[in-house]
Amino acid sequence: MQHLSVKIFEQSGAELNSSSAIAVFHRWIQRGHLKELAIDVADYAHIPCGPGVILVCYDGSYALENVGGRYGLQYQRKSRLDVDHQQALRAAYDLAVAACQRVEGEPEFKGHKFDPREFSITWNDRALYPNTDESWAHVQPGVATFLDNLLGARQYQLTRTGEDRRERLSAEVRETPQGAAR
């Protein structure tokens, strides 16, 4: 699976302040917090419900964003990843979760909480993964296996989103109450 994006939703509902995001991302670059090659910080916070502040890296990018009116942290893989579906999903998810934990630990974002059991997945390549029923049928088993391992079988809800077929293939994952009670 290639070019996946994973967005972990912020739970408190409070705004992810863009000035703070700029400061934090620059600090990560200065202190070499990421293993990846970080290139720059891009500020798009002026766009309402947009991509917010982006830490642009060579292999992917991290954004503290507000797309769709929901704050969250999105990791988007840009470069090729020569691994199988499970590993690709795992890699994108783990990087997103690690970044969320790091953000939670930053003083500027004290009180913010990202729930790693509530997230979205986007397949950012229309040639490989068009937003069609066939394409969804093709990726769904791999996603289900990944989620079974992550959250436990039948402990989550996987919903295909992107009803507008011009959008990219995407899905949202939410742990069910049974899962949460485990």
Partner: protein, 752 residues
Amino acid sequence: MKVSNHLWKDRLNGRIAPQLGAEIDAYENEIALKKQGKLDDKVFAEARLRRGSYGQRYDNGFRHDGIERRKLGYTTDLTKGPGTVWDAPGMQRIKIPFGGLNAEQLEAIADLAEEYSVGVAHITTRQDFQLHYIHIEDTPTIMRRLAAVGITTREACGNTVRNVTGCPLAGVCRDQAFDVTPYAKALAYFLLGHPDTQDFGRKFKIAFSGCDTNPCALVHIHDFGCIARVREVDGQTKRGFEVYVGGGLGTVPYQAKLYDEFVSEEELLPLAQSMARVFARLGEKKNRNTARMKFLVAKLGMEEFKRLVNEERAMLARDSRWTAYIEHVDRGSDGPLRPAQLLQISATEPEDFRAWKASNVYRQRQFGYATVTLTLPLGDITSSQLRTVATLSRKYARETVRNTTEQNIVLRWVSEKDLPALFTELKVAHLAAPGAGTIVDPVACPGTDTCKLGISSSRGLAGELRLRLAQSATARQEEIRGLHIKVSGCFNSCGQHHIADLGFYGVSRTKDGYSAPHFQVVLGGQWSDNAGSYGLAIGAIPSKRVPEAVDRITSRFLRERQSDETFQAFIRRIGKAECKAMLDDLTVLAPPGQDPGAYTDWHDVRKYNVGDMGTGECAGEVVSRLDRELAASEREAFEAQLAEEKGDAERAASLAYQAMLRGAAALLDWRSFPVPKNADEVVAAFRKEFYDTQLFFDPFAGGKFAQYFFGAHTHKDEPHTLEVSHRLIEEAQLFIECCHSSTQRISSATLA
């Protein structure tokens, strides 16, 4: 780089015009050859620029992170141009002739922005789109996907005919002589890839305007500008164009000059072709700084230039494309989808709708229809917003969308009755902000965000002004609302600061060895009358104090405006000395210990630096003397402006020259070279120590600014017109800016 790139070629087979497809294949082969080391860096760079693939900031593989300048750890040594790392993200410019788009094209750009960039497309002041953070190996696929919807990136950059711009209201405008769209389109595609436009020394910019009073197409800042005119010839109404040549902004702005009061529609294309041939044959090729059309026209003089163009015209073999399109021009460039119906004015109109309608809705010449402007913050629009625009353009109009030179989007031919419904749908997509084209909608170039040449953060400043002005009671006043703010990240004026009421361009200043971002304030430029006149620089202000300056200037205008005085007239009336005095205290840069915030840029926490300058222990006393001398030369340049204002061309020219001479002497002194008493010797010493050694060379403009000085010295004893002295003043200001920046570069190189 996308794994799927190879899939698109087959998938789009049959949807791409063969010629375009072949060109993209050739470009892809050039990429392959470059990867194999079989193509020279410069040759490849030229090839990609011609296709709109530009470099982006930090693509030399280094970045200052606020603590130190670090090498970015790309794993390949491959380059895509001199000093340009292969893997470094770049920018793809997408040419949109006269800004015209249909829904399918909007959707294609939305997809590309999402899949290859960061989900945002940026609209430029030339009505193009730009996508940032693009990998060079994705560019052929991007080009194929664009070609499949009828868009080419060919000649979007490089020494080519750039995007042909035109009024976004062409065809629906109440003031137009006629719809210029078909002419702009015909000329754009006629010159695209034409053999006569392939050997220019510099870019060539064309604009079309339907009238001469409104600013939409900014004809006077173009190499070749056309204003629609109709004339009675032998009892028949003939269409044609008033043609202007040799305009341009750039470092020193030039007003285009009238070439011909009336060029018939049949002669438009052959005239452009003839001019292109003269430009290709005689335009400067070696020195890019004097290679624009404006320099050729100035060098030859208009009469000789015309003679040469006519000579070329006489030799041209007839081309059926010159006139083939004319029989279709009366069909109009577009039309309505829904029946015309007036909007019933209602007393209960919601306030947000009323405000939006007042600023963003234009009543078309066609009864019952309106053009709606979508205000885009800093010219940015997300992929999902682009799709919304596509949807709404299908629902409410016949996909009649255009990008504007003010970095917004217009949707034409909306039935007035549909305005409330459209407003509601735009609101959901966050596209219903009011204030289009007003003071709260500043224009900004990419600046330090992504441009390699940016000195200060133009987008940061413009973004900050947007926010503050939206809250400002002063900005809400009718007299102030209509003012235009334009911000460029450096002297290259991509943000068109010369033609704004309040223009700003990025410069830097140093105190105690620390650099701070500044903006030169340029007041009183004229946006109307197709960019009728240019403003002049008043002084450099630390970036963080610019909002205060805007507040001060606008408040004073509001207070002291006489009857219906325009801003330009007000600035002229109070005079430049008074403008400078009004802002004088704001120009003071406090030491870093007192005001550390002044040493960072807007929306950036890094310690500011130019050219990765270290913070250093520059010899304080010596730097201070330099600073004093440079301040004195700035003062002289300013006095030159005052002399010009009084109509004293000779004194203005002399002061401008003296300012440069003083700056040159200051630099010699700073580097501990003996400073000769005699001007000839100062020039000779400066040439030897700073020009021949290239120490004074700007990374972008090379030795251009030193050449201004040499030119001023050579011609100092000749008589000066006001026009020449005006140019000398502009040149003196840029020369002094270069004195500042070169001392920073030299200091940092010494420290490294």
